[in-house]
């Protein structure tokens, strides 16, 4: 028996993603990004993103089918991001996916974007260990999750108290005169800099903070510290060493994220850490994670960079897992939820 063919649609932010998987085999991951339209605004403009999703939807579905070498009518089930994300953007994807379900007469799952970020790793590294710990870091989220079962039981251990990790990268990039989105530019600059040059603060790491916010993170203090430092140096007439600032900032972010993630693994007795989200493409995060997981005998799973950022393949991967486990599908009247809680994996 061949495994089911699942098409996934993702429109929670500025990427229109359509992915197709068969079982845990990735067949297509078509993405149309409107990021260039947002760059000059220094952030994603929701209305521009929504307009772009509608324009890109059918061409992206066509591209995914062509790449996968399948016909739309061969798809066995649909999955779509129902939240969290930008409300207007989510609606375009959900309306499109429902229309496919209706037109093709196939079942549909409205799924949680965060669970999809975790599940996508199954396309590259096989079925997830149960339980796993997941660290999701992107421009939209910073969450530390305990994942006993990615299809129905995900527990949030911690999250950011202010900015998402990727947001901090964007803001620091702006302070340093680097383009948007900041992640790749800060990463590139940091590779030329000294991560120990400046001792930037590590948020929520004092003993008192750890009592209440053991697995939470905070980046606004760090972001402010970077801005102050740059301002002070500039005022003093010193040349700001952009590469050193980038490297030191990045080191602070990576250090905190991984200390919390490793602590979560050890305290929960979980032997696997999955990292996902756009910031998981950061080279320093990958390097330090590899090193620290090895030190603590934790299995580290990070998808390749293309699957870390928002895409349709991750939604298809979760849809496929839901089919494999025989989970109940969504009714066609499910809604979008821009602040969807991770305790809900599927909306019904």
């Amino acid at each position: 028996m061949t495994e089911p063919l699942v098409l996934g649609i993702e429109t929670s932010c500025d990427e229109t993603g359509v992915g197709i998987v068969r079982g845990t085999t990735l067949l297509a991951d078509a993405v149309a990004s409107s990021v260039d339209s947002h760059a000059r605004y220094g952030g994603v403009v929701p209305e521009i993103a929504s307009r772009a999703h509608l324009e890109s939807m059918i061409p992206t579905i066509e591209r995914a089918c062509a790449t996968a070498g399948v016909r739309l009518e061969d798809v066995d089930a649909l999955a779509v991001t129902a939240g969290p994300g930008l409300a207007g953007a989510l609606l375009v994807g959900v309306a499109s996916a429902k229309a496919l379900a209706l037109g093709l007469g196939k079942p549909i799952y409205g799924v949680n974007h965060l669970a999809a970020h975790v599940c996508v790793d199954q396309l590259e590294h096989g079925l997830l260990e149960q339980p796993s710990i997941a660290l999701l870091v992107s421009g939209g989220h910073s969450s530390l999750l305990l994942v006993p079962d990615v299809t129905e039981d995900v527990v949030q251990l911690g999250q950011t108290m202010d900015d998402a990790a990727g947001e901090a990268f964007d803001k620091v990039a702006r302070v340093l005169g680097l383009p948007f989105p900041g992640g790749p530019y800060v990463d590139a600059a940091a590779q030329l800099g000294d991560p120990t040059a400046i001792d930037f603060p590590r948020g929520l790491m004092t003993a008192k903070d750890l009592e209440k916010h053991r697995f939470d993170v905070s980046f606004s203090g760090l972001k402010t510290a970077v801005a102050r430092w740059v301002e002070r140096e500039t005022k003093a007439g010193n040349a700001v060493m952009v590469n050193d600032v980038a490297a030191s900032f990045q080191e602070a972010v990576v250090d905190v994220l991984l200390r919390k993630a490793i602590d979560a693994c050890l305290s929960q007795g979980v032997g696997t850490l999955v990292i996902g989200g756009g910031v998981a493409a950061n080279s320093r995060l990958r390097a330090v994670a590899t090193q620290r997981c090895a030190e603590h005998d934790i299995t580290l799973r990070i998808p390749s960079p293309k699957l870390c950022t928002d895409n349709g393949a991750m939604v298809a991967a979760l849809g496929s897992e839901l089919v494999r486990r025989g989970r109940e599908t969504s009714q066609l009247d499910f809604g979008t939820d821009s602040s969807m809680n991770i305790s809900k994996v599927v909306v019904r």
Partner: protein, 218 residues
């Protein structure tokens, strides 16, 4: 059979026989719930009448103008459904449904939010002769002194634009299009407004991008 969808005001769905008889209309005053209910209502309507999706041979969709978020749901639904079924889909100006049904000289007004109204002017055959456009109520009132205003827009600023509230039924949009009164439009929203987005002012004393100065370590 024709499937017609409009979510420019609320939700209006219709299924019509090819000879335009036997109309099934589903209406819901559900502005803001288009995302939840549009596909659900279509599914229910098909089931209730024992119609298979194979029986649908054409889709007609209202392309606004209307509040963008809800409007896009109907357009995405109609467009992607037609794509999945490999059947043709046509866009039609949503206001034409009301203008054509009226069959008298009038100005149709609907809610454009932000203290504005969408409007279009119709002749006695139901043909649009001006608009669609968007303006403040006072501007519209001044432009069309002595005209009859109809449509859901009349209830929002009754002191400025008064008239009869007529609901939009998408089956009328199909009739207008079939009567060659309402022209086919691209299947894309009639936005009539640019997205608001403000470019940030350049930062004072912004540093040079490091990519251009890789050797800036002094």
């Amino acid at each position: 059979m024709i499937l017609a969808i409009d979510t420019s005001v609320a939700i209006s769905i219709a299924i019509l026989d090819d000879d335009l008889s036997n109309i099934l209309n589903v209406e819901a005053d559900a502005a803001g719930a288009q995302g939840e209910l549009t596909a659900w209502y279509i599914e229910g309507a098909l089931r209730e009448r024992g119609i298979s999706v194979d029986d649908i041979t054409e889709v007609i969709v209202g392309v606004g103008p209307g509040p963008f978020t809800g409007l896009r749901v109907g357009i995405a639904t109609g467009e992607v459904f037609a794509f999945a079924r490999k059947i043709p889909v046509t866009g039609v100006c949503s206001l034409d449904a009301i203008g054509y049904a009226a069959q008298r000289e009038c100005v149709v007004v609907t809610n454009a939010r932000r203290k504005e109204l969408y409007w279009a002017r119709y002749d006695s055959t139901g043909k649009r002769i001006a608009g669609p456009s968007v303006d403040f109520p006072a501007v519209i009132a001044e432009k069309f002194v002595g005209y009859e205003f109809i449509g859901p827009g009349v209830e929002i600023y009754p002191d400025v634009i008064a008239g009869q509230n007529v609901h939009l039924q998408v089956s009328d949009l199909v009739l207008a299009h079939r009567a060659l009164v309402s022209e086919a439009l691209p299947v894309a929203p009639l936005y009539l407004r640019a997205p608001d987005a403000v470019e940030p002012a350049p930062r004072k004393g912004t540093l040079q991008p490091v990519m251009d100065v890789p050797g800036d370590k002094s």
